[in-house]
């Protein structure tokens, strides 16, 4: 497990080294793990890699998704413990958290893939051109965000209506 993750983190780190200015600092950190590293070391390494290489917006998305998981989990726990009496309230409260999580996950897919998916090593110097191609085939961040807002508003409308 550890070598694979190591490989993944290095490949993901490589393009970010080119696209972001923070790359040189990253490469100075512990880029590699020893083969016999302990679980705590691996976790610490992964966490460090994650927090140092992820863009700020993706971090924000992840934080929001964690918040949604917490809210949804608490509501489900309450339903298990206290019963589901106003069942529509449970459905819309829990459904709002799940739906928002799904929408946020889609936004994350659409906004964090574009940088990672491109292969700058093959495209070399015309990275800007490659970036433009990438944006042409996928969706722009603005468009993705607008869709996300639209979807969320519909979700909230339904949930508020359903909770009565």
């Amino acid at each position: 497990m550890a070598p694979k993750r190591h490989a993944a983190s290095t490949t993901s780190a490589a393009p970010s080294a080119i696209t972001t200015p923070a790359a040189p600092k990253l490469s100075s950190g512990p880029a590699t793990l020893k083969a016999n590293a302990s679980a705590a070391e691996i976790a610490q390494h992964v966490w460090h890699q994650y927090s140092s290489t992820t863009p700020q917006r993706t971090l924000l998305l992840d934080a929001f998704m964690a918040f949604l998981v917490l809210v949804g989990g608490l509501q489900f726990l309450y339903c298990v413990l206290a019963g589901n009496y106003p069942f529509n309230a449970f459905l819309s409260g829990f459904g709002a958290a799940v739906g928002q999580f799904v929408l946020t996950a889609s936004l994350r897919m659409q906004t964090s893939d574009s940088g990672v998916g491109s292969k700058p090593s093959s495209k070399g110097k015309n990275a800007r051109f490659a970036d433009e191609v990438e944006e042409g085939t996928g969706t722009s961040h603005e468009r993705a965000f607008a869709d996300y807002i639209f979807g969320s508003l519909i979700l909230h409308f339904f949930c508020i209506n359903f909770i009565n």
Binding site: Q56, F67, L68, V71, Y78, P86, A89, G93
Partner: protein, 455 residues
């Protein structure tokens, strides 16, 4: 002025004359018109209570129970014929038809001669059975009249019957003893709820045929209190059929006789009083119930009366006014003993069966009421009161209503239910989190993008 006086006199006459609740035309069938004088007190008493008594012989040509397809008489009193039948116009079929048209019948039997086969087959139609040879009398060696039947012991001296059960009103009770000479005993079919004994023989009585002597043990069908002296059958349409085992008990002679039991003293009989009670019940002067008014509505103030539609879980009030006819007037009905008038709220089967409590009374009726919540089930329901008791005419009231489900805006709002507050908070936390996320997203955007573009 004279016209006014005439009207007043008419009103007074109507008030003085007691009248049955179902008409006053009484036909007495008496085979031997000479015997009419034997019962003169009975006829006088009946006429004093407002009956138009016409006495006919069953052989008479004019005798007909029906005229133009309708009843020609309201009540029928049949005294036992000596001949084999009651003639062509009083066949069992005619008599049953008469009952089907709400006519009341009082049939008297006698143990003096054997009962005619026509009468026996009529009684069989109603599941009332006579002794096999139809000529038995009831003998009791402990409750007989020592003055008139010192040898034969066939004149029974009995107390008037009390209530049949604790929840049945006693129509025939009172002080004093009855003299019942030469009773033809009857037994009742066990299964029918329409049959009820009015007066049963005492436990020491038995049925005996003076011509044949004591029967073999295996021939005895009933003894003691299984034998009935007076029994009644009230049909589903509340027409009444009463059988009196001893016609002689109605004779003038026994109305004013004195009797003495082996252990008691000489006392006058109360046959006349009992004959009044019996004929009054048989001809619907007593024990007649009437529903005056039925009301149902929502329990809230100012709600519509008798609406055709209710909603599930509505608080509903049902009221019913019941009167009882006692000899000449309607009086408020009182439930006998521990009996209960019940309301059913049914759709195929009852969802509620509730006691109706008396909450007040008007001049002529008692108001019974019950309050309940309509069940959590929509459909076509009916308010039902089904009160069928021995000696009372049946009450069967059915009022259909629709019960609908909640309209979409009739459910409680979610914030009213405290249990849902957690989920409401969860929903608004998600929405609030979403708004905060959008704001932070928008403010966090430019740095990365500008850098990206400048690069």
């Amino acid at each position: 002025m004279r016209w006014c006086l005439a009207l007043l006199v008419c009103c007074l006459l109507a008030a003085v004359n007691a009248l049955s609740s179902s008409g006053s035309r009484l036909l007495a069938v008496l085979e031997d018109t000479d015997q009419k004088d034997l019962y003169s007190t009975l006829w006088a008493d009946l006429e004093a209570r407002g009956y138009d008594v016409s006495i006919e012989s069953p052989k008479s040509d004019q005798l007909a129970l029906f005229k133009h397809g309708e009843r020609a008489y309201d009540h029928l009193l049949i005294l036992p014929p000596k001949s084999k039948g009651l003639g062509p116009s009083l066949t069992p079929k005619h008599i049953v038809d008469f009952m089907n048209k709400d006519g009341n019948i009082l049939l008297a039997l006698s143990g003096k001669a054997s009962t005619s086969s026509a009468v026996s087959s009529l009684l069989l139609e109603l599941d009332i059975h006579l002794a096999n040879d139809r000529s038995a009398v009831v003998i009791d060696h402990f409750n007989y009249d020592t003055l008139s039947a010192a040898e034969k012991h066939d004149v029974l001296v009995l107390q008037r019957p009390g209530p049949l059960r604790t929840d049945v009103k006693a129509f025939f009770d009172g002080e004093g003893v009855l003299a019942l000479p030469r009773v033809a005993p009857q037994t009742l079919g066990g299964e029918s709820t329409l049959l009820a004994p009015i007066l049963s023989a005492p436990a020491t009585a038995y049925s005996y045929n003076p011509k044949e002597g004591v029967p073999a043990p295996e021939d005895i069908l009933a003894t003691g209190s299984q034998l009935n002296i007076v029994s009644s059958m009230q049909a589903r349409n509340s027409a009444r059929f009463t059988v009196l085992g001893s016609v002689e008990a109605l004779e003038d002679k026994w109305f004013s006789a004195s009797v003495k039991t082996p252990s008691g003293t000489e006392t006058p009989t109360v046959n006349r009083e009992f004959a009044k009670q019996l004929t009054a019940w048989a001809f619907k002067e007593t024990g007649v119930l009437k529903v005056d008014k039925v009301e149902h509505r929502l329990a809230t103030e100012g709600s519509e009366l008798n609406p055709s539609i209710y909603r599930i879980k509505n608080e509903t009030v049902y009221k019913i006014e019941v009167s009882e006819y006692v000899y000449d007037k309607w009086v408020p009905f009182e439930l006998p003993g521990d009996d209960e008038l019940q309301l059913e709220f049914t759709m195929l089967s009852p969802f509620h069966r509730l006691p109706l409590k008396p909450i007040g009374r008007t001049e002529t009726s008692t108001i019974f009421s019950a309050q309940f919540v309509t069940p959590d089930q929509h459909g076509i329901f009916s308010f039902r009161v089904n009160y069928k008791r021995p000696f009372f005419t049946a009450i069967e009231e059915k009022h259909e209503v629709t019960v609908r489900h909640f309209a979409h805006d009739e459910y409680p709002r979610s914030w009213v239910i405290t249990g849902g507050w957690v989920w409401i908070a969860g929903l608004w936390a998600v929405i609030g989190g979403f708004l905060a996320f959008v704001v932070v997203w928008l403010y966090s955007a430019p740095v990365a993008d500008k850098l990206k573009k400048t690069q």
